[in-house]
């Protein structure tokens, strides 16, 4: 058995497909990006090594700063608008039961399975100043309905709305699963103790959902950083870079602005930012978990000690009784 399981050749052949894919599709492009990040390559012809020039320029690049700000705004939008609504809806759905529950769950998730190509075009039409749905709604409520939703002032908010709308079902579904995993006897206990529904939600559901919330928040931040497709189709990052995101910006620099080297430098920094964000979030949440776990262990020990004490007391009592 041992010999069979440590056969180097077999191990190598098992790991090879995954390793090749990793090297070819992830590692090699990153190395290439690092290399081109030090050049002034335009995408064709010859080029020179220019050292850290690209990175220096990136420090003062306003469009890149706007991209990061937009990612931050999007992450805040996800966490402060999408997630609270998603969690409340998930809690309400959990109480609903039966066909209505699966019907609503299905409806909420549908936008998620639709291609971003369709979503972006569709919202382009919804925001259309001439016959768009949104201006017609404004008119129905007595407004003038001639708002340009994608101008420099409004565009970023319009983009955020699309993204929050599109990802809602996903966040909801994960909270819903988390709530479904909560032991129902806890709810029974709460209702016996006379807790109201909102009390139960705040005191029972929310604390138990902590790990799920952490996963969801991490995913929200990462997806806010990685955002590209929707802005690429809806606004192209414009007007005037106001809806720019890092991935879209590096694409534009590399392919349409003939600054391939600079685009790659953005790519390198972009990867580093994503890595740092992931590691940092995991660290923040992990520490808390560990602290809680340690506390839990301490409490458990106290209880065990107390129990041991009470058992010895009981034994003593019994022996006294027996003697008596």
């Amino acid at each position: 058995m041992k010999k069979l399981y440590s056969n180097k050749l077999v191990i190598f052949s098992l790991i090879l497909p995954g390793l090749l894919l990793f090297i070819f599709a992830i590692l090699a492009p990153i190395c290439l990006s690092i290399y081109y990040g030090f050049t002034n390559y335009t995408g064709m012809g010859t080029y020179d090594m220019i050292g850290l020039e690209n990175y220096k320029n990136l420090l003062h690049d306003e469009a890149f700063a706007i991209s990061l700000r937009n990612s931050l705004l999007l992450a805040i939008g996800f966490i402060c608008i999408q997630h609270p609504i998603a969690m409340i809806i998930a809690a309400v759905l959990d109480k609903l039961g039966g066909r209505a529950e699966s019907f609503f769950r299905c409806v909420y998730f549908i936008p998620n399975v639709i291609s971003i190509a369709v979503i972006a075009k569709l919202w382009g039409f919804i925001y259309n100043p001439n016959f768009g749905l949104l201006n017609n709604i404004v008119k129905a409520f007595g407004g003038k309905g001639d708002i340009n939703w994608l101008d420099e002032k409004n565009a970023i908010w319009s983009v955020l709305i699309v993204l929050i709308w599109h990802g809602f079902g996903w966040g909801m579904l994960i909270y819903y699963t988390g709530i479904k995993n909560i032991d129902p006897t806890l709810y029974e206990a709460a209702s016996i103790d006379g807790a109201s529904q909102s009390q139960t939600f705040l005191r029972v559901t929310l604390p138990l959902m902590k790990p799920v919330i952490q996963v969801n928040v991490t995913m929200a931040v990462i997806s806010a950083l990685k955002q590209m497709e929707t802005v690429y189709l809806l606004t192209q990052g414009g007007p005037g870079n106001s809806t720019q995101f890092a991935a879209n910006y590096l694409y534009q620099q590399g392919f349409t602005a003939y600054r391939y080297g600079y685009g790659n430098a953005i790519g390198v920094i972009f990867i580093i930012i994503c890595l740092i964000a992931t590691v940092a979030l995991n660290k923040v949440f992990e520490d808390r978990d560990e602290v809680r776990m340690r506390k839990h262990e301490r409490d458990e020990e106290k209880r065990r000690n107390a129990m041991r004490k009470s058992v010895t007391v009981k034994n003593k009592l019994n022996s006294i009784k027996a003697v008596g």
């Binding site: 190509a117 569709l122 990685k226 590209m228 694409y251 790519g267 990867i271």
Partner: protein, 279 residues
């Protein structure tokens, strides 16, 4: 009595919220369907929905042919099915090697492969384009298949390793005594036990890649291997200024995924939940 009344108000409030959010989520799609059967001149209305004078099914037939619907659908299905199969095979093999086989670097290799989850896929667009051009595989199926599989593999590997861990070792010991080699153990003993995780990984891989179009946009130039999102992205031709037909193309492009989702609703919900919570 008052408690009952309060509970009643609570129930009404609950339904109002549920329905309101449902309308927000679904109304744009109803609007899409409504306009897709109207005629182009009817669209400039100030009402929210329009009642078309005549239902224009011809919008859909034009969308069907002008949007290369069948070709793109076939490409999408082919590429996605292949990607799922390759992700499954590679992740089961690597997962088994990292969890069960005995070698020094198993932890290191696993961490390295999982790192792929943190790398933003779009950061590889520029260098990968260069690599694929050098290798002459732009505008082939491989230019999509390789990155699709590579970027879905880390998640698949992550799920597979945690499932393989939960399979009792005794099963394998029995197989070894019966004289099975490692490959037979993996594909005849372990794989049948991984049914749920295979379903989860397949669903996650499909959801990741089905609607992807950035890579396809950059790595492909001809229509030959373009996928379904291009029905709408490349919709030009003689109807490019006819908005109603564009609405029909959008509805048509979205339809396959929505239909499959409604049919497999339960499984997909379970798969997403499992994939996301574990991932």
């Amino acid at each position: 009595m008052s408690k009952k009344k309060k509970a009643g108000i609570g129930r009404v409030f609950m339904w109002v919220i549920l329905i309101a959010i449902a309308i927000v989520q679904i109304f744009p799609l109803i609007w899409l369907l409504d306009f897709s059967v109207a005629s182009s001149t009817e669209m400039f209305t100030s009402g929210l929905l329009i009642i078309p004078k005549k239902i224009m099914w011809s919008n859909y037939s034009k969308a069907f042919t002008d949007g290369h619907f069948l070709l793109y659908l076939k490409n999408s299905i082919l590429i996605n099915v292949l990607a799922v199969i390759l992700v499954l095979i590679a992740s089961i093999m690597a997962g088994f090697a990292c969890r069960r086989m005995r070698w020094k670097l198993s932890g290191f290799v696993k961490t390295m492969l999982l790192m792929g989850m943190m790398i933003p896929i779009h950061a590889t667009l520029l260098p990968n384009y260069k690599i694929y051009t050098e290798l002459g595989i732009t505008d082939t199926m491989w230019a999509l298949l390789i990155p699709y599989v590579a970027f879905s593999l880390p998640q698949g590997l992550f799920l597979m390793t945690s499932f393989i861990e939960s399979i009792p070792v005794e099963l394998e010991e029995a197989a070894v005594i019966d004289g099975c080699g490692i490959y037979r153990i993996i594909f005849q003993v372990i794989t049948p036990m991984l049914k749920t995780s295979i379903a989860t990984v397949s669903i996650m891989t499909f959801l990741n890649n089905w609607n992807e179009f950035m890579m396809a946009r950059i790595y492909l130039s001809s229509d030959k291997w373009k996928t379904l999102p291009f029905s709408i992205l490349d919709f030009t031709g003689q109807y490019s200024s006819n908005y109603a037909i564009q609405f029909a193309v959008m509805a048509l492009t979205a339809a396959p995924a929505i239909i499959v989702y409604i049919i497999l609703n339960k499984h997909i919900t379970k798969g997403v939940a499992m994939g996301a919570v574990k991932g």
